[in-house]
Amino acid sequence: MFSDYAVVGITIIVSLGFVAVAIVSAWLVRPKRPSKLKQSTYECGEKPVGSGWVQYNVRFYLFALAFVVFDVEIIFLFAWAVVFKDLGIFGLIEMAVFIFILLFGLIWAWRKGALKWV
């Protein structure tokens, strides 16, 4: 098992190294003459005005929130799916209850307008 993950580890190291080598070698080689114009933020040719930080709309947050809840549901589904075959009807009912309660949650969020994008 360890040897499987050794491959993963080597992949990570190699990819990090690839990126590191590319950036570092470029930094070593290029001339360093910074100017005010060159350091300013690139905005497709326009002159940048104000700070780059904009306060986002709350709808992004609501979607991420709903996603967390259903992501947790998904992991329970994974755990259940592994044993599903040996559980029979009982297992089906257990998970059906779980899913229906969360389905109710989804319908509630939907009807209360938390999922409206516009």
């Binding site: 040996d86 559980l87 029979g88 009982f90 309660i101 109710f104 319908i107 509630w108 009807r111």
Partner: protein, 494 residues
């Protein structure tokens, strides 16, 4: 594979959850037409749950691989939680600051919190215990911060959440350590037995239990994790502050009692230090609650510090109870905890109810709003006087009976220092409550007329119930004491 489920045991909790879901669904389908349905639905749910609970039988039963159980003390604690929830629902009806916020969800969430607390009291398994503690806490955070446009409410919810999340993390660390050394057992009594069998060094158990105690201390609001109590009680909607001060605390007390009895081995190397630590916590709670409470100007904050002091008293009972686990003869410790918890429900909810009513009518919770209340609203002033005197422990109220029993248990078990601190702080607390009485009865009312809106009827019902409990059990405590003794006569270690 199949597992045996005794549905009857689970029926009260399932009813509460089902009732909450029904309230949500009714609100979704009928919207504004069913505005007034959520309170009756909630009360019916609570009534059915209480009926199912009382029909469970007084013997110990457990289900689902011994993770959920019921016994006499569990039924007692759960009845207290349900009764508290009922009174809170009455108080929340017509609470003006909440009218801008969705009320059916509020009621549904209160029912879900009650079901979570119910699970807490009945859980024998570490995983179920932790999940239900978190469930109760999360719903409580939401309820405390429900009036989100109100800065104080948002602060209350946030502070409660920050304290709760960090205490819960520390508690989980303690549980993880105990889980590890007990050989991977999650059933709590079995974990306790394994701790003895595996010959774990006492220092380890003391420290691991200390981490667990941090989390439980947060739930009941005792020193040292009491910091959230004043700000949360002050900022949260008043019915929720009352809810936290009773139902949540009672569930926490039930869990604390069980955890101590199941997990702490009876050897003096562990019981000795832990008795000392809990004694410090109890004494510090009583002293801090009464002394700092005297300085408070806001009624809700005053009641919060009073709650901290009272939990110190309950801890005395728990300390006596834990040292005499198999002493079934005169187990005053546990009996006193049950009596105190029952009495505290009525006294504290009564005081909160009056504060709620006055706040609802006049919009003020500061002491200067109460000036000359006796001449303006004599009935409310008298009722508040009764409840505050009960909290101070004056006969013939149930407060006196409760304190008497706790102190008697402490003296009988030779915890003289605790008893002395208890008596002294009771005297000091009299001064704390008398301050409010003085302002109500002896100060002149303000020149301008404070506009006062009518008080909704359910609040009066709630107050009536609390008054009945406070005075009836104070004058004729026999049935309550008998019931408490009955509930304690059971095997605690299984």
């Amino acid at each position: 594979m199949k597992i045996d489920i005794n549905w009857a045991l689970l029926s009260p909790e399932l009813t509460l959850i089902g009732g909450a879901l029904v309230i949500f669904i009714v609100d979704l389908i009928f919207r504004r037409r069913a505005r007034y349905l959520h309170l009756p639905l909630a009360i019916i749910t609570l009534a059915v749950a209480s009926w199912l609970l009382s029909s469970l039988g007084w013997n110990y039963q457990s289900t689902v691989a011994d993770s959920f159980f019921t016994d006499r003390a569990a039924i007692f604690f759960k009845l207290i939680v349900y009764l508290g929830t009922f009174i809170i629902l009455l108080l929340a009806e017509g609470y003006r600051p909440l009218s801008r916020y969705p009320l059916p969800e509020f009621t549904g969430l209160i029912l879900l919190a009650a079901s979570a607390m119910s699970f807490m009291v009945s859980s024998k398994d570490l995983i179920l215990l932790y999940v239900s503690i978190e469930f109760a806490s999360i719903v409580s955070y939401i309820l405390a911060g429900y009036m989100r446009d109100n800065v104080e409410s948002a602060e209350a919810g946030l502070k409660y959440f920050l304290f709760g999340a960090s205490s819960s993390a520390v508690m989980l660390m303690g549980f993880a350590l105990l889980f590890y050394v007990s050989g991977g057992v999650t059933n709590l009594p079995a974990m306790g037995q394994a701790l003895v069998e595996n010959n774990i060094h006492p220092a380890f158990i003391i420290i691991a239990f200390g981490l667990v105690a941090v989390g439980l201390s947060y739930k009941v609001g005792a020193v040292p994790i009491h910091g959230w109590v004043p700000d949360t009680y002050q900022g949260a909607p008043t019915p929720i502050a009352a809810f936290l001060s009773v139902s949540s605390k009672v569930a926490g007390i039930a869990v604390l009692l069980r955890i101590i009895i199941w997990l702490l081995p009876q050897e003096s190397a562990i019981m000795g230090p832990w008795t000392m630590i809990l004694s410090f916590s109890a004494m510090a709670s009583m002293i801090l609650g009464t002394t700092v409470g005297i300085l408070q100007m806001n009624l809700k904050r005053l009641l919060a510090y009073s709650a901290i002091a009272h939990i110190g008293f309950v801890l005395i009972g728990i300390i006596v109870g834990m040292n005499y686990v198999t002493y079934t003869g005169n187990d005053f410790g546990k009996v006193s905890v049950l009596i105190y918890v029952a009495g505290y429900l009525f006294m504290n909810l009564g005081a909160f109810a009056i504060v709620n009513m006055i706040g609802n009518a006049t919009g003020g919770y500061e002491l200067h709003h109460y000036r000359g209340l006796a001449s303006r609203k004599p009935v409310l002033a008298l009722l508040l006087a009764v409840f505050l005197l009960a909290l101070a422990g004056i006969p013939p109220t149930v407060g006196f009976i409760a304190k008497f029993y706790v102190l008697a248990a402490a003296i009988k078990a030779d915890f003289i220092a605790l008893a002395v601190v208890g008596i002294l702080t009771s005297v000091v607390s009299l001064f704390l409550y008398a301050r409010v009485l003085k302002v109500m009865y002896m100060d002149k009312p303000p020149k301008e007329e404070i506009p006062s809106k009518p008080i909704p009827a359910p609040s009066w019902a709630a107050v009536g119930l609390c008054l009945l409990g406070t005075l009836l059990w104070g004058i004729y405590p026999g049935p309550l004491i008998h019931f408490a003794k009955f509930c304690v006569k059971q095997i605690w270690l299984q």
